[in-house]
């Protein structure tokens, strides 16, 4: 029973990272109907930047996280202006392919800057707490809190601020929004910046648990897709729940079935979902 609880707790921390990563993907899809294949690379860039700042420049962890999110957000606006906006009104596939090209560029750029070594991101937290036989390290606890804060901040931004209201308007009807004087292109750039920042924060949560290397974005991209497809494309609440669920079920699967087959778990879930209910759990379309 204790191992069960332990695995649930471990899974929840990783699942928090999945949720935030998938939130970024689902946000862009919900707003712009765009599939961003470079999202995994934004995640990687966030983790690598945090590594450089904490391990090399000795910036405090929280500050590094905020800086990394800001830099990746800026970078994703450039990505938006170069590779997304010019292709928005052509075939939807084109944006997907151009984001793939950007992902190739980013992986190779990161390899030039950081080379292919696996880096361990240091965190300032040590010590652990034990409740009812379940041990949670302080690092994991702080990382989950970061995730919760990020999700609450995102909810507040979208539901309670003026910009968030405009974003919801654009998501509902792009032409109508443009008609009443909303600068749709600027809103798209903001959306992509928020999504990039979320990817960087996900990198900050998962990076210290696993480790950081230039091709780390490939694997999580597929998990992110698995989460948003199972949840239903564009469903934010679903993405959070399914992300946590995926983290927990992967950990339990690793504990009770086989660690070697953990990575196949997300694939099978994804393919099964595509076959049985392509619209996802949380969508009634």
């Amino acid at each position: 029973m204790w191992t069960f609880g332990q695995q649930v707790v471990n899974g929840l921390v990783v699942g928090m990272g999945y949720s935030i990563f998938a939130m970024g993907l689902t946000l862009i899809f919900g707003m712009m109907r765009v599939i961003n294949m470079a999202h995994g690379e934004f995640f990687m860039m966030g983790a690598m930047l945090i590594f450089t700042m904490t391990a090399v420049l000795h910036v405090p962890f929280f500050l590094a996280l905020i800086f990394a999110a800001a830099i990746v957000a800026l970078f994703s606006v450039i990505f938006d202006r170069i590779a997304v906006q010019p292709l928005l009104n052509t075939q939807p596939l084109n944006v997907m392919i151009s984001s793939m090209a950007i992902s190739v560029i980013m992986v190779n750029l990161a390899t030039i800057v950081w080379n292919t070594d696996t880096r361990i991101i240091p965190t300032p937290f040590s010590g652990q707490y034990t409740f009812a036989g379940v041990t949670i390290s302080q690092t994991a606890l702080v990382l989950s809190l970061i995730g919760i804060v990020a999700l609450v901040a995102l909810w507040f931004f979208i539901e309670k601020t003026a910009t968030g209201r405009i974003m919801r308007a654009v998501a509902q009807d792009e032409t109508g929004a443009a008609l009443i004087g909303i600068n749709v292109r600027a809103i798209y750039s903001i959306t992509i910046a928020v999504s990039g920042a979320l990817a960087a924060i996900a990198g900050g949560i998962i990076g210290p648990i696993w480790s950081a290397f230039p091709t780390m974005g490939e694997n999580i991209l597929l998990k992110g897709f698995a989460v948003i497809i199972v949840a239903g494309m564009g469903s934010a609440r679903g993405a959070v729940l399914v992300g946590l669920g995926l983290g927990v079920s992967e950990a339990l699967f690793g504990q009770y079935v086989s660690t070697a087959y953990t990575s196949a778990f997300a694939f099978s879930l994804l393919v099964l979902m595509c076959l049985i209910r392509p619209q996802g759990i949380f969508k009634n379309a």
Partner: protein, 358 residues
Amino acid sequence: MIYREAGEYKTSYDADSRTFPIKFDRMGYYTAMAVAFLVVPFIINDYWASAVAVPFLIYVIAALGLNILTGFAGQVSLGTGGFMAVGAYACYKLMTGFPEVSIFFHVLIAGGVTAIVGVLFGLPSLRIKGFYLAVATLAAQFFLVWLFNKVPWFYNHSASGQINAPERTVFGIAVTGPNTDAWAKYLFCLIFVVVLAWIARNLTRGSVGRKWMAIRDMDIAAEIIGVNPLMAKLTAFAVSSFFVGVAGALFFSVYLGAVEVGEAFGIQKSFLVLFMIIIGGLGSIFGAFAGAAFMVLLPVLLKNILVGGLGWPTDLAAHLEFMIVGGLIVAFLIVEPHGLAQLWRLAKEKLRLWPFPH
């Protein structure tokens, strides 16, 4: 003046419906075939074979395969690398399991095995399309690479987890293994390219190809006028995977000789082949050739400039090549989404009137 359709007198339906109805095209085709079969094998050396000719020919087959699926039938696939791996591992198992059978048949059977796997992964395409299909094929890519890494039976329990091509011969001449002559590798691949390109060209001209294109352009309308979407999509997956499987088998056995699956057939390979057909032109046989040539020649050219000319380290140059290729893809998508094939069409249009444009 140089390129014109006028003055072509045809007296039969056969003449009218041939693959290259214009004399200029036909001459170009015959010349290219003559050069490829009668000139190149005698002058080719190891550098040209391993750096340019053999990878070009193999990527042509892969690009033809993906173009059938994505360009003609409109089903996006991100799993090309994984399907190439199926071809490679099928070929390896056949080569080591049945050494007495000719490698030629092994490559063909490897293509057949890949076709079956392709149909299996193509089944979801009946229910899902567009983005969902792309993600499902992406999952297939990861799954297949993971499978070949994890299950020792596929690599005959070798300690390194790699697969190595043993020496195999065709008519007594080695085509795989370390002691292979450049011309033998080249000719072996060339024969596959010519036959498969001929099949692809004729399939896409005929009723099967028209069904694929009908599905691509509007699947519901196609179904209403009597195209069976099940058959059309599954044949597209089967034919495409066959091509990709043959390409994977050749890539492993003739070109690389030793393969580590994540390295040789990773997601990057899927992107590369997809980029080839985007740059070459979706839905065009010529585009598959042009795109493969572009993506093979550009790195060689850049490498010669960066490493040979400017003296940069090789690995830095290699990463920079990928970045330049990525930049070119974005540029092509924005400026000329129909690729090199469209540029060629425009050039023909200009040549028709040249030198009197009015």
